[in-house]
Symmetry: C2
Subunit: 208 residues, 2 copies
């Protein structure tokens, strides 16, 4: 297979992917913002989130910055920011901030030394927890511990579920396709020999 | 935070998650089928796909089986199978197959000793490549190399992109919410100082 064809095909296999902008900053104060489709839940307690970092690409700045400051932010991409988010993957120089180049707004919060994306409706700061080398293809799984979460309050439902559809979070398929969503339903906790039920957005049983 | 509230909240942070059933089989020929929302693209060349395995849960059978046979299948969940897929997370005994319990159909293909899900429109077999321990929370990143891909042919587009929306692939948010998608657009490869363009489903420029 030609390599571009192969890249598009293989990138489609894993299914819908999360769309997140990772904000970081080096020790000189230069900011970086990069789109990642590999952000993955690692665990809830402690709250750990990871992403796959490739070794020799434009996104390398992100890892270099995180190694310098031990902090980064993850910012969900939404229906208003998906084009700007995609544009961050252009090969800008290290001294060109993707914020300025794409029109996204850096937002700083007390005691956190790395920028958030103001336009994101669900964003959080992490401290570097672990860098796990992947021998198979020389990539790395970078894991952070969540320290601060900023979310539009109406999206957080009674049982802790965050309705990311209500804040227009998008997903990615392949390398370059962006999607909004339509909820089928939430489902009750699966138990052996018990029928599943659709539950409400707040996690309650639907009254019959 | 109470632990269930916390689990739902933290599981919502990473964004939309892929919905895949992992099929496996132990050396006695007992099958297992388990829903994972952590399947992630690791690399295109070689073609590597991974998932996060927790150490002490019902899904542990998957890892045990993979260690025994070195093979597994990944099967995208779609609009017809999402409820059955969710039900696989009930705590069945090792000798109860999730296939029988949930009504999904095991499908065997020549030279592959682990079952696919017949109802899945995009599925592939992998051989175990690497198990990467994650010290932070005692989980593991299990990585397989893709050996065989089975996909509804009409979904594979001219440039290699697989239109997973056309085969009704679903995504997950939080722990238990399922979503179908609506494409905003595919976007052209991002370049510095060049305007992004919407491209067609086949990857072509849209004629003006």
């Amino acid at each position: 297979m030609p390599s571009r064809y192969r890249a598009k095909l293989i990138n489609s296999l894993s299914g819908f992917k999360s769309a997140n902008l990772i904000g970081s900053q080096n020790s000189k104060g230069e900011t970086n913002l990069a789109l990642f489709s590999s952000v993955v839940h690692i665990g809830a307690s402690p709250a750990l989130v990871g992403f796959i970092s490739r070794p020799h690409t434009v996104v390398r700045d992100t890892l270099e910055n995180i190694l310098q400051t031990k902090q980064f932010t993850v910012n969900q991409v939404n229906k208003e920011t998906w084009r700007s988010a995609h544009q961050t993957s252009a090969r800008y120089n290290a001294d060109e901030s993707e914020f300025e180049q794409t029109g996204l707004t850096p937002l700083y919060v007390d005691n956190i030394d790395v920028p958030f994306v103001k336009e994101s409706h669900l964003k959080y700061a992490l401290t570097l927890e672990e860098i796990v080398p992947i021998a198979a293809n020389d990539t790395q799984l970078v894991i952070g511990k969540v320290t601060d979460i900023f979310c539009q309050p109406t999206a957080i439902r009674k049982d802790g579920y965050i309705d990311i559809e209500s804040i227009d979070t998008v997903s990615i398929s392949g390398l370059d396709s962006y999607h909004v969503s339509r909820r089928l339903s939430r489902l009750s906790y699966a138990k052996k020999d018990k029928q599943l039920e659709h539950i409400t957005i707040d996690g309650d049983r639907v009254s019959k």
